[in-house]
């Protein structure tokens, strides 16, 4: 039996020999399982942007892009398998779209010299570049999200949350637990009362949590959900007639797929965001022309302009720009993962660049540096309009409590550095 594996091994290694002529961007997607509703549009957006670059510009800096898709099902074991099977092909950057898989990959990818971009997820303290050399989470992280949500509520309440009750309903995993520490700090600062309501994987069973919300009547409910958990939570909130405008999800809990199943009653539900909504941007005309009309759209091609599609496209855009930066730094079109890392660390996104890419005012202008892998952390708020079936930005991108977040990041990354004997870089 084992001999057979060995011969298969040899055959597979020979068959899957690396082709270095193109830029390989693996997409660890999930189009199946309880998180597919969130994973499909992101994967489509990610793929479509690279298809657009290939069709319109012939790739990045003349080198064609090859996207390798691998299905993880949001499962860490499959994530490992996907990472191992794609890294040999010269993968430039990993975007696993899963906090669990990101945690797994941080040490592995760092050892292998491949950068990770966990955009708005993953380990928040990875924004400290002095400790996490290969991990980036610009332009915003979870703790920005937590702080942004509280800032928004402060604004709503005239700057005072004293005595208010806020419930956090979260996915009982590394992802959902991330904001707790920040919220607890903010609780001390602003005097609100925080209730924690964990929901276990996959998140379909939330009756008892919402019963508690119904009993306690918190003034606000903040959600850190993903996949099917979002839809169920919105539906449960509707069922107990919780006022939707007091229900705020993080950016991963605010897409069309999450609110449409609850119908008109979901009207008014809010979600955070760190980039623009809708498809009112010039880049979508190009996607329509070069990708959709050419019949090259990923998946069913019906997700264009949805929140998660936009985010996937934004992630691909940032990756492509980082690759372009890397090409400029190193003067070669055929970059390696190490060069890609340099490109990500030197990435600078300006208003002009965004406009030239067909995405004016879509995301923040920011500059990544050796110390700062986290971006500016500007957080806006969107609201669902059930009649028009669209998300509207109701609060512009605003800075978060960076002083507090910086302190927490310092603390957490120092613990990681001590655990793993990492010398701080960038001196």
């Amino acid at each position: 039996m084992k001999m057979k594996f060995a011969t298969m091994a040899v055959a597979a290694v020979m068959a899957a020999g690396p082709v270095m002529a193109d830029l390989v961007f693996p997409s660890l997607s999930y189009r199946t399982g309880p998180y597919a509703a969130s994973g499909i549009p992101f994967a489509d957006g990610y793929a479509d942007y690279f298809t657009l670059l290939n069709e319109r510009d012939g790739g990045i800096g003349g080198a064609p892009v090859r996207m390798v898709e691998c299905e993880t099902g949001y499962n860490t074991e499959k994530g490992v398998e996907c990472y191992e099977s794609t890294k040999g092909e010269g993968a430039l950057v990993y975007q696993p779209l899963s906090t669990g898989i990101t945690y797994q990959l941080i040490p592995k990818a760092t050892a292998d010299g491949i950068p990770i971009h966990s955009m708005g997820y993953g380990r928040t303290s990875a924004s400290n570049g002095t400790v996490f050399s290969h991990v980036f989470n610009y332009p915003a992280n979870y703790w920005d999200g937590a702080s942004g949500a509280i800032n928004y509520l402060l604004e709503e309440n005239g700057g005072n949350l004293d005595g208010k009750k806020i419930a956090l309903i979260y996915h009982n995993s590394a992802y959902g637990k991330e904001p707790i520490r920040t919220l607890e700090e903010l609780q001390k600062q602003h005097g609100f009362e925080l209730t924690l309501l964990p929901v276990d994987h996959p998140g379909q069973e939330q009756k008892s949590q919402w019963l508690q919300i119904r009993r306690d009547r918190p003034d606000y409910v903040v959600m850190w959900g993903w996949g099917v958990m979002n839809q169920v939570a919105v539906q449960e909130a509707v069922n107990i007639r919780y006022p939707m405008e007091n229900f705020i999800g993080v950016w991963w809990s605010g897409s069309e797929a999450d609110v449409i199943p609850a119908g008109a009653a979901a009207n008014g539900y809010k979600a955070l965001t760190f980039h623009g909504v809708g498809k009112d941007y010039p880049v979508y005309d190009d996607i329509q022309k070069f990708v959709l009309d050419a019949g090259k759209a990923a998946g069913a091609g019906d997700q264009i302009g949805t929140v998660q599609y936009n985010r996937g496209m934004y992630a691909a855009m940032l990756a492509a720009e980082a690759a372009r930066t890397a090409q400029e730094i190193h003067g070669t079109a055929d970059i390696t993962p190490a060069m890609m890392r340099d490109g990500m660390e030197a990435l600078e996104i300006t208003e002009e660049k965004m406009a030239a890419l067909g995405l004016p005012n879509y995301g923040p202008a920011f500059k990544v540096s050796c110390e700062q892998h986290g971006g500016p952390g500007l957080v806006g708020v969107t609201q669902w309009d059930a009649a028009a079936q669209q998300w509207n930005v109701i609060s512009d991108y605003k800075p978060t409590d960076r002083e507090l977040i910086g302190r927490l990041i310092e603390e957490d990354s120092a613990a990681y550095a001590a655990e793993n004997n990492i010398e701080p870089r960038c001196n």
Binding site: F5, A12, E71, E77, E81, P107, S173
Partner: protein, 358 residues
């Protein structure tokens, strides 16, 4: 022709009762061991170790453990995931508390701690049987996962509730952490797998195993002929949990490196290992290997064929995987209810007679 007992003369009782009485079988066994220990470590790369060998070897240990409990002693357990979590968290606490101790020691102690926990949850088996015991062990599954999620001491108060394996070595060779060489991780696991299989095989052939099987076949009859159900059942729980704990420790420290208890050691894991031994064959050590191989390798093989060779969309392949694996399970259970091990046994019987079947 060459696969037969004829011509083999045992002159001692030891010869007579060995595991592989046929010379060809014995050589095949030595050959497999030789390849596993001396050939594969020189050939593997990260992909083969992390995607195929490690999950296969570690699941095989878990399957052996569960097989002792379910297949040999007849005590249905749905708590495998929870017991694996005990092994993983015990290993994590040991690794972080005693960084200078060899990983071998950590893994074995983690197994021992799991054995103690297993005995605790095995106590109800003295009073309840069958489906009711399955429900009791199901409670263990949920309780343990809840416990590791709930009590921050178990995950050293980390913000995310995850446990991460720090770099640890044995005999100066890194076994855990991102800088581990593929062969080291492989060898470490293969040693545990081989030793577990040999111990389990010999236990089940000896008086302990016979007591388990007596309990499994009819507990009242077993009691009448002098088998103490207390020691028999609890020893099955202890030894089974030991192996399951070892596999959990390896699963966390060597294979995944970072674990989130609800996702990795959830109820799905319990079912997966249970399916492995049902498909592989209840009450068979070979069956544990076959079942683990079936459920670990088949999805990877289907993925390679579907995505890499045929170029199909990943979601179609993922769905097809479920369909094919599910269909094969049903086919197996209908065509061969005793699992792959029974097919193996039948094949061996046929081989003995070949080429003159009459």
């Amino acid at each position: 022709m060459f696969y037969r007992e004829a011509g083999e003369f045992s002159t001692t009782y030891k010869d007579d009762s060995q595991t592989f009485p046929i010379k060809f079988d014995r050589w095949r066994y030595y050959f497999v061991l030789f390849v596993a220990v001396f050939v594969i470590p020189f050939m593997v790369n990260d992909y083969w170790v992390n995607s195929i060998f490690l999950p296969f070897l570690i699941y095989a240990i878990a399957a052996i453990g569960l097989n002792i409990l379910v297949g040999y002693c007849g005590q249905v357990s749905l708590g495998t995931g929870g017991f694996m979590a005990v092994g993983a968290y015990a290993c994590y606490k040991l690794m972080t508390s005693f960084p200078d101790v060899s990983m071998f020691v950590h893994v074995i102690i983690a197994g021992a701690i799991t054995a103690v926990v297993g005995v605790l949850f095995g106590l109800p088996s003295l009073r309840i049987k069958g489906f009711y015991l399955a429900v009791a062990t199901l409670a263990a599954q949920f309780f343990l996962v809840w416990l590791f999620n709930r009590v921050p001491w178990f995950y050293n108060y980390s913000a995310s509730g995850q446990i991460n394996a720090p770099e640890r070595d044995t005999f100066g060779v890194l076994i855990t952490g991102p800088n581990t060489e593929a062969w080291a991780a492989y060898l470490f696991c293969v040693v545990f797998t081989i030793v577990s299989a040999v111990i389990a095989r010999n236990l089940t052939r000896g008086s302990v195993g016979r007591k388990w099987m007596a309990i499994r076949d009819m507990d009242i009859a077993a009691e009448i002929i002098g088998v103490n159900p207390l020691t028999a059942k609890l020893s099955a729980f202890a030894i089974s949990s030991f192996f399951v704990g070892v596999s959990g420790a390896l699963f966390f420290s060597v294979y995944l490196g970072a674990v989130e208890v609800g996702e990795v050691f959830g109820i799905n894991k319990s079912f997966l290992v249970l399916f492995m031994i049902i498909i592989g064959g209840l009450g068979s050590i070979f069956g544990s290997f076959a079942g683990a191989a079936f459920l670990v390798l088949l999805p990877v093989a289907l993925k390679v064929v579907g995505v890499d060779w045929l170029g199909w969309p990943t979601d179609i392949v993922a769905h097809l995987q479920l369909v094919i694996v599910g269909a094969l399970i049903i086919v197996f259970l209908i065509a061969e209810p005793h699992g792959i091990a029974q097919l193996w046994r039948v094949a061996k019987e046929k081989l003995r007679l070949w080429p003159f079947p009459h």
